[in-house]
């Protein structure tokens, strides 16, 4: 069977409440007097009319400045944020490697957390029973696995989270800037594992600011800017476009320093911070 992701004309906006959620009192007063505090809510268009079709075999890199909507698009594909307009169609089982370690219960042991986390990722108990040994082996936490994870170091925590997420063979893999933490040995192991996952899954979407990684792992790249897809094509071309035109657009000086031209071996740093544009409605 083939995997496919289709995003059709999807828009998504966030409401930002200046003084948190409206209190009951204000809502009632607003209803009675018929006027709403318009300043209290600001709307922010996170995604604007996105059209994208990803087919089996695509290793899609998603690049863009901070606040461009990359992670939001990934979360929309997972189903966390439903689009306000348009639609999202997904064919195939998604394995999101987004926000690893979500749902860890610090009072529980590593082993119990494997089951809990697996369950949250939609895997059955039987499935996790079969994977448990592999996850423990991969994380190299055999000695500590029955200890509550609040006693884990942050590196051990990260190792466990990565191992749970990365042990299955995904049909559709969504990766948001996670590359395992831990000692050099584990990072190498995790990188190898990621490479394997990229090659074995039907579709991969990778959000990363590491352009070398994108060039290395992807066969297609989209560039996002302010909630829109502004470029779609082969990696080298798109990375050049991003570096020269998109990153340049905002901060000409910073862009050159931050994103070295393709082929330079020095790892690029984080993309320049850009304030998301607020649209007052």
């Amino acid at each position: 069977m083939t995997q496919q992701i289709q995003i059709q004309n999807a828009s998504l906006k966030f409401r930002i409440y200046r003084n948190r959620a409206p209190a009951l009192k204000e809502a009632v007063i607003g209803m009675l007097t018929g006027k709403r505090d318009k300043d209290a809510v600001t709307e922010f268009d996170a995604l604007k009319k996105i059209n994208l079709t990803v087919r089996a075999g695509d290793r899609l890199g998603v690049i863009g400045l901070n606040g461009a909507g990359k992670s939001t698009m990934l979360k929309m594909i997972v189903g966390i944020y439903p689009p306000h307009q348009g639609r999202v169609l997904v064919q195939g089982k998604i394995t999101p490697l987004i926000e690893l370690g979500t749902g860890f219960d610090f009072e529980l042991s590593g082993r119990e957390n494997i089951y809990l986390n697996g369950a949250l990722l939609g895997r059955s108990y039987q499935q996790m029973r079969q994977l448990e040994a592999k996850i423990i082996e991969f994380s190299e936490l055999e000695e500590f696995i029955d200890l509550p994870i609040k006693y884990y170091s942050s590196g051990m925590h990260g190792r466990l989270a990565f191992s749970i997420g990365a042990i299955v063979e995904p049909e559709i893999l969504l990766v948001d800037e996670i590359f395992a933490t831990g000692d050099a040995h584990f990072v190498q192991k995790a990188t190898d594992r990621m490479r394997h996952l990229f090659n074995s899954s039907g579709i991969t979407l990778l959000v990363s600011h590491n352009l070398h990684q994108i060039l290395d792992l992807c066969n297609r790249v989209i560039v996002m800017h302010k909630g829109e897809i502004v470029g779609d094509g082969p990696p080298e071309e798109m990375i050049n476009y991003y570096v020269n035109d998109v990153a340049h657009l905002v901060k000409p000086a910073a862009a050159a320093a931050v994103a070295p031209p393709v082929g330079v071996s020095a790892p690029p740093g984080p993309a320049p911070q850009v304030e998301p544009q607020l649209v007052v409605k």
Partner: protein, 340 residues
Amino acid sequence: MRSAESTELLDKPNERTSDAVAAHGDVAVGAGVVSKSAAGARSVGAGSVDAGGTGSVDSVGDSSVDDFDFAAFDTKESIFSYICRSLAELKNIKFALASFVVNNLRRRYRRSVLGFAWSLLNPLLTMAVMTAVFSLLWHSNPKSFGVYVFTGLLPWTYITDSIMMGSQSLVQSEAFLKKVYIPKSFFPLVAVSTETANFAFSLASLMLMAMIVGVHMNWTVLLVPAAIALLFLFNFSVTLILAVATVYFRDLTHIIKVGLSTVFYLVPIIYNLEMVPEKYRVLFLLNPVYYFIDLFRALIYVGQVPDATRWAIPGLITLITLTIAFYTLKKTDKDLIYRL
């Protein structure tokens, strides 16, 4: 080598879950938005659920594992197909549900010396105090009065605890809901299920205790699980409504707290409905909670099988609250995440 192994491992469980997901795929309803057919992956109008005749039903390809299609806000999905979809989604993560409930229970008593015994001791001590005070006050037989109080007090505690814990569950799990895809009814369900387990333990142990003390129990106590199931559905639906409402109006948390402590005196738990002057009795009969407590009393304290109306009234109430709950959830399903 590793890869070959895990593919093999995963093959079977995937097949196992596919029927549940296929059902899920079937009820995914399109809103009739632009359907750009690509690579012939979709067949329009092939679905099996009628969405009120307005939206076209799309089924994506060969409806395989975890296919889904969520369209925009203008989706015309019927309440029935929404409920089916919600239940299918909950079924998919039933293990997470069980694991959350067990962890909640475990955490509640972790590090306390008596552990689970507290779920028994707590109501027992409350009951002992109440019985002592009120049997002195009203000169009633402490033994049977004790049973009378606990058959009212335990369901009441169950209702209030469910509402208190559950109504905040959506707000409190914001971090979760924004990071992983989980049906919105999951966390209220976890809260209510935890309280249900607690309630069942307390009820069973207190009935046991009553029998040891020498209070006669009729065979009608065997019908108690049916009453628990009914009260569970009622609690779940009320909690769901309040949990969604709390997302929109955070002040509700405080209102609920005050409200529940007021309602306590309006439920005949420590007194008898016969003690209430005739002209006010109607007010007490308007309280939906009364009918559930009445059911437990009939089964445990009176020892008779309640007649049809005594089942029908709480049943009807539950049906109404359940409908409102799912209607509320459906209305807010796609907006809720943006309000957290």
